[in-house]
């Protein structure tokens, strides 16, 4: 069963389309990451998925049922989905009462409420703060209590808007662990926004990339604006001063291009006899990913290249190595 299915979903503000999804499908269970730069439409999409924002047009189905945004009776649907905002706010009362809020609305008995509040706060490591005033917590603690408040309701879906963007490393680790625990418990699906590609790779097996309000395919995290110039028949894209790559024919002067990091060719020596298509760079970072290794290569801009474990072992790259990078046409998508 599909958890969410959207068709021709659009959100327009003052004539500007901030979200435009011809089709979107998110399966039930597990964890999904929404990746994309600022202004990509991630928060707008989360608010629509939380039934807090009415789309300008299009259809959204939740658990195979159409969502009637205009009906005004969305609170029954909202009780199945809880959104934790990027900078969550706690009601001006105790932490325990904050966590109990959604449970009271659902008509639970007092001893059940107390038990669930206790369980949820323990899960996020905030049990000792139960009687503290919600306003006196730090950003990381507030984020954890907000997650506990969502967990306590045991919704079908928990939506997290950049849950670790405003917290220190300790709270970030704690929140990632909590997210993993929720996934492992299997009670709720999680959909979260992040800028952090490696975090998305660590936690999820489904990643959706948004740019300019549109989905641009999974794993297209190298999204850039490139200048276009022509040399004879060949069309070239250039980003910054030195990164260039062949483009399919286009009459535009500037294009937005996504480079699939799994299809970039990277070698110690030039992989192509055509020097014009080859860019030299330095490996500046390496991270382990679920099914490979993620390299950050400085080619005048930070370019992500993902190698399979086998290819990585064969190439034996080290941090600081000078490498040659080529973007074949099948790695490029014009957005």
């Amino acid at each position: 069963m599909s958890l969410y299915a959207a068709r021709e979903l659009q959100k327009v503000y003052d004539g500007r389309t901030v979200l435009d999804l011809p089709e979107l499908s998110i399966a039930d269970g597990g964890m999904v990451a929404l990746l994309g730069p600022n202004g990509a439409g991630k928060t707008t999409l989360l608010h629509i998925l939380a039934f807090l924002l009415r789309p300008s047009s299009g259809q959204l189905r939740f658990k195979d049922q159409p969502v009637a945004f205009q009906a005004g009776s969305l609170h029954q649907l909202r009780r199945q989905v809880v959104l934790v905002e990027q900078q969550p706010i706690l009601f001006s009362t105790s932490v325990a009462k904050n966590v109990a809020f959604g449970l009271k609305l659902r008509g639970l008995k007092r001893h059940d409420i107390n038990r669930r509040v206790d369980e949820s706060l323990s899960m996020v490591g905030m049990r000792a703060f139960a009687s503290a005033n919600g306003r006196h917590l730090s950003g990381g603690e507030t984020q954890r209590v907000a997650i506990a408040r969502a967990i306590a309701c045991r919704p079908q879906v928990i939506l997290l808007d950049e849950p670790t963007s405003n917290v220190d490393i300790e709270n970030r680790m704690a929140i990632e662990t909590i997210m993993g625990d929720i996934r492992d418990a299997g009670r709720s699906s999680i959909i979260f926004c992040t800028h952090d590609v490696s975090q998305a790779a660590r936690l999820t097996d489904m990643r959706l990339h948004l740019a300019g309000g549109r989905l641009n395919g999974a794993d297209y995290e190298n999204t850039f604006q490139a200048g276009v110039h022509h040399e004879g028949e060949q069309c070239w894209g250039r980003i910054g001063r030195r990164f260039r790559f062949p483009l399919p024919p286009t009459s535009e002067a500037v294009v937005r291009v996504a480079v699939n990091p799994r299809l970039i060719e990277i070698t110690a020596e030039s992989p192509s006899p055509d020097k014009r298509a080859t860019n030299r760079g330095r490996v500046i970072r390496m991270d382990e990913e679920m099914d490979g290794v993620r390299l950050m290569v400085d080619v005048g801009l930070p370019l992500v290249v993902i190698l399979s474990c086998q290819a990585y072992r064969a190439a034996d790259f080290r941090i600081g190595d000078t490498v040659c990078v080529r973007c074949p046409s099948e790695a490029l998508s014009l957005l």
Binding site: A50, L52, R78, V82, S92
Partner: protein, 231 residues
């Protein structure tokens, strides 16, 4: 200067001796003003909430009108209500003129715009995340409104205190609709005006001290609760 201090000293004696006439005047003033504030609060807070919480065409015009009504002179309200409740008026048969109820009616009209406008202002300062958080946790529209109302409670209590301060210190409505009848509709401000006319400053100064003390007490209480619970 001696005259001022003599009057002040005599007035303090009157206050500490709980002079019966002074007590009747103070009691009536408090009763009328608290009743007006309560009724205006019951009408003005929900009205402010409906205007502040919803988006509709002409909302800014409504808020501008309300802000204009804040400057409504008490004598204008006195005249307006008088035309309705005088013997020849539409409500003349109810015999409201020159009763405490007449003062209450006038004062309610005076402070509904105060409470409504200040409630709207208090709501506008409440972070919209409170509304979204209540909704996403499963609250319906009414429950969400209660959450927002709770977060705006200090602003709304401040609105009520401001409205109370306005009515307990007004004179036009009390004089025109109450008539300043001794022991029946004589409030602190009308009594002060009368004593001034008579050249008797002791009771007037005594009432002034009580008026300021009440106002100080109300604001001290408000600040105490804001300091204690708003942090």
């Amino acid at each position: 200067m001696n005259f001022f201090f003599d009057s002040l000293f005599s007035a303090l004696q009157l206050v500490f001796a709980a002079d019966p006439e002074l007590m009747v005047i103070v009691g009536l003033s408090l009763r009328v003003s608290l009743t007006s504030t309560l009724i205006a609060g019951l009408l003005g807070v929900p009205l402010g909430f409906v205007i502040g919480f919803n988006s509709f065409r002409g909302k800014r015009v409504v808020i501008t009108l309300l802000n204009t009504l804040l400057a409504l002179p008490t004598v204008v309200i006195g005249l307006m209500v008088y035309t309705f409740i005088s013997r020849r008026g539409a409500l003349g048969a109810l015999n409201l003129l020159y009763t405490p109820n007449a003062i209450v009616i006038g004062q309610v009209i005076l402070i509904i715009p105060v409470i409504t406008a200040l409630t709207i202002a208090a709501l506008s300062r409440i972070d919209d995340r409170y509304r979204r958080t209540a909704l996403t946790l499963g609250a319906d529209q009414f429950q969400t409104a209660l959450v927002v109302l709770r977060e705006a409670r200090f602003g709304i209590v401040a609105a009520a205190v401001a409205a109370f301060g306005r009515v307990i210190s007004e004179i036009g409505i009390s004089m025109m609709l109450g008539g300043n009848a001794r022991g029946f509709t004589r409030t602190m401000t009308t009594a002060m005006a009368l004593e001034y006319d008579k050249g008797e400053f002791v009771l007037a100064v005594g009432l002034g001290i009580v008026l300021l003390t009440i106002s100080l007490g109300m604001n001290t209480l408000l600040n105490y609760f804001q300091g204690r619970y708003a942090e």
